[in-house]
Amino acid sequence: MKIIIAGDGNVGFYLAKLLEKEFKDIILIDTQKEKLDHVEKNLGIATVLGDSTSYKVLKEAGVENADLLIAVTSNESTNITTCLIGKKLGAKFTIARINNTEYLVDKSTLDLHTLGIDELISPESLAAREVKYILKSPELTEIFNLYNKDLYMMGLRLSDNTPVVNKTIAESAHLLSDNSFMIVAVDRNGETMIPTGKLRFKKNDLLYFVSTEEGKDKVLEYAGKKPVQIKNILVIGGSRTGKYIALRLSKYYNIKLIEKDFEKCNYLAKLIPNVQIVCGDGADVKLLEEEKIKNYDAVISVTGNSETNIFTCLMAKDLGVNKTIAMVENIGLFDYSQKMGIDTLINKKMAAANFIFRHILKGRVLAQLYGVDAEIQEFIVKKDSKISHKPIKELNFPENAIISGVIRNDRGYITLGDFELMADDKVFVFSLPQSYVNVISFFK
């Protein structure tokens, strides 16, 4: 599979890095030589220097036999033009990054598909969507659906007063026998473990569950979390992500948004109904106190500066805010920020990458989780496979990987030890990097 990525910004670089593991034939186009040098040195990916809207440049990148063309420069018009030209020159599938969500919402005015753009993505809008989901279940650190509304993947951090802390999984097995959820991974101090019966939970462990719709509440019960209702939200930063969050959520919550730039404040105030816009520096402690930060149920910090976001969230946490969400662009900071106590992190490029993996590639790699060095992959059980019609516990499944749910006849099932796989089952596997290869060969 040949993939061309136009634009070596945050999103482009991250996509290249992720895709490079799976697909060998990747080409990155950008107009800045230093950036391309950096990519070649670090990732060993082939690059083409030039403007991606140029026929010559696209041809040089081999667009005529490209399977996928992803245009993710910071300029919307460039992305759209690149995709239009790329499609005409032979690219099979095109994706353009856009800022103007009109294109996403109003599909009747202009049919971009017939013009040659197969998919549109807006990283900021996707990040806002993640925030919306997480606010519905604020006790969790992360949630996304693996399959329709049947199977969910959820992350959850153990706190002091949880009954399962200092117990092994085997000891709490009576709570786990329900067929509606299962633990698939535990993250401790940045190290990811696939659970075994002997694993003993500790305070601050980050647990990953797969659960059905009914199982969602039971997961919370298992981890000793009480359901929390979010009503008042403080959003810090009025950049695009902040704007989309306010626009999407103003119907459901009371929102106050703090932004430094006066012109931007005016723009937002005029644009977004039912949201109070405050002009001020989100990193100014005095201002935050004056705006009564501790009265909010959730603080979402999405300024362009990751450090400010982390700091503000830490302060909010310290003042007793129930839920803190920080936008952190620098993936290197993930581990520490989570360890220091920020509840949820969001990241535009990961949101975009996840979207591309899950909805467009529909391939084996399904999702990347924040701060966890593991992936969820998807396989189909072949007919007459030796792994079918046997309980999972007798399968001798590779180490450091776990079968985490099955879709059968359009319904999601939790796969505990007694579950038997059948032909045509769609199987989700959660695995650590060292066992990717073993897992793939297991299903062959």
Binding site: N266, K270, L271, P273, V278, C279, E290
Partner: protein
């Protein structure tokens, strides 16, 4: 580029303005062909001759002015208000010529035939031998006021009657913008400012000329609709009423209603029909005339039917029409001075708020409370901004009310928050809102000052028997271009008061500021004031 750097002196300014005025006069001259035609239809040959002569005077003076100042510069933005104010004064003056000429040339035997049923009074036509009375009626016509010196309207002849109503139609949507849409030679920015000075300033189409044309189309379309409506309505309600008279009444009343002018072809205005049904029928033209023309464009052209309730002006007006009518009716009932308080209350309140001025009763006998109510909540507020109404326009009142609540609410929000206010479906930033407030407050304030001045002059110069409340009523009626009268306005009134009302009508139509700008230009010249 250097054009803009030239600082025109007073003389240059007047050259520029005179050229524009010349253009206006030429158009006015041509429009006299229409009442000429009507005079011929009714075989009123002296009136016809009057229109021919007046038309020629307008055309020739206009042409001479235009030719003399043809070489002057194109008008600049700051000339717009002066052109509007001066233009209106000149149009009213030139428009008075037919009254004077016809009054002088029509022999008494002919004039005595005008009245419907062998009238036993001297034809009111002869009041117009006095040029001031002619100017009064002309100004009242073009500003869509409806106060008149013609005591017995039918006795001035059908040609002149039609002309009076026709001037209301022309003045209603703006004579200057009509001229602009017909002969557009000036740059579009100036056109826009003129449109702004005389009409709503709301841009409905991409260019100002297209906007003005669509406004006029809708305006004439609605007038035609009202004509048909009134003909059919009158025919159903008063089948025995002469059909020829029905047609003539309906054409004229449609023009007077749509423009919220309030002239009538009948001696006793709408009351002459002696029919409650007719009075209810005539509520329709007044209400239609009170709503803003851009609103109609949106509903009719752009099919935005939701505007009927979403547009804040239309909504508030409908509410105010209903509430005000009920309250006034009860106040009249309470006073016990009026025989049919509800019939009178509803009709008079609608007539006052829409600033039409059709009258069905003698206001002079009303008590002070009812007068104050109809003045404050009817005539001063007036209809919708962008309609043909007078008054301060309801939108100003709404802005100021909103401002009050905004100020109070702001007290509770944090110092740093952006205090957005939602007004008429748009979200306004504090800066924008303050601009709206300041312009609305300035206008309302200055409007009330002049209303007060007019009242005081009226109090001292009106004839015996009129009190403060009558002076207030008449002043509000003139300045709000309403046209209801408690009797102060009549051919025997003092010249000083007559001139006062002429000025009030002129100022009221143009929302005062342009007239003040003109005064400033005449008295102090065009040099900017440097302090």
């Amino acid at each position: 580029m250097h054009m803009n750097l030239i600082l025109y002196d007073k003389l240059d300014t007047f050259k520029i303005i005179f050229r524009q005025i010349g253009g206006l006069q030429i158009i006015l001259g041509f429009t006299m062909a229409i009442p000429l035609l009507v005079s011929l239809i009714y075989c009123e040959f002296y009136s016809a001759l009057g229109f021919v002569l007046s038309g020629l005077i307008c055309l020739i003076t206009g042409f001479l002015l235009y030719k003399r100042f043809k070489s002057s510069f194109e008008p600049l933005n700051r000339h717009a208000l002066i052109i509007a104010a001066f233009g209106w004064l000149i149009i009213a003056t030139m428009g008075a010529i037919p009254y004077i000429i016809i009054a002088y040339i029509t022999p008494i035997e002919v004039a005595q035939q005008f009245g419907t049923n062998g009238a036993n009074y001297i034809s009111s036509l002869y009041y117009f031998k006095n040029p001031l009375h002619a100017l009064f009626d002309s100004m009242s016509g073009f500003t869509t006021t409806g106060l008149t010196m013609a005591v017995h309207e039918p006795s001035i002849g059908r040609g002149l009657l039609f002309y009076r109503h026709f001037t209301q139609l022309l003045g209603g949507a703006g004579f200057i913008v009509l001229t602009l849409s017909l002969i557009s030679q000036s740059s579009s920015r100036v056109s826009f400012l003129l449109y702004n000075a005389e009409s709503t300033g709301e841009r409905l189409k991409s260019t100002i000329i297209e906007t003005v044309r669509v406004i006029w189309k809708v305006y004439l379309g609605l007038t035609f609709f009202l004509f048909v409506f009134l003909v059919v309505g009158t025919f159903i309600l008063l089948p025995q009423y002469s059909f020829a008279d029905n047609i003539f009444d309906s054409i004229n009343h449609a023009m007077a209603g749509m423009s919220t002018g309030g002239f009538s072809t009948l001696d006793d205005s709408i009351a002459e029909y002696h029919s409650q049904g007719m009075e209810i029928l005539y509520l329709v033209p007044m209400i239609i005339g009170a709503l803003s023309l851009p609103f109609y464009v949106k509903v009719i052209y752009n099919k935005q039917y939701s505007q009927i309730w979403k547009d804040i002006q239309t909504r508030s007006l409908i509410i105010l029409f209903v509430l005000g009518s009920i309250i006034l009716s009860f106040m009249l009932l309470l006073s016990g001075l009026v025989s049919e308080p509800f019939r009178i209350g509803v009709f008079q309140f609608v007539s006052a708020l829409s600033t039409t001025g059709w009258q069905t009763c003698d206001v002079h006998i009303w008590d002070s409370a009812s007068i104050s109510f109809i003045v404050i909540f009817g005539m001063v507020i007036g209809g919708a901004f962008g309609a043909t109404v007078g008054g301060v326009k309801i939108i100003r009142v709404l802005v100021l009310l909103k401002a009050l609540f905004w100020r109070i609410n702001n007290y509770f929000s944090s110092d740093y928050s952006i205090k957005v206010v939602k007004f008429n479906n748009t979200r306004l930033l504090p800066e924008e809102m303050n601009k709206e407030i300041s312009s609305a407050a300035t206008l309302v304030f200055i409007y009330l000052i002049f209303l007060g001045l007019g009242t005081i002059i009226g109090y001292y110069t009106a004839e015996q028997g009129f009190t403060m409340k009558d002076a207030l009523f008449e002043s509000a009626s003139a300045q709000g271009t309403v046209g209801l009268s408690c009797g102060i306005t009549n051919p025997e009134m003092s010249y000083g008061l007559e001139i006062t009302y002429i000025i009030q009508m002129w100022m009221g139509r143009l929302e005062i500021i342009p007239v003040l700008v003109l005064f400033r230009t005449i008295l102090l010249g065009t040099k900017p004031k440097v302090v």
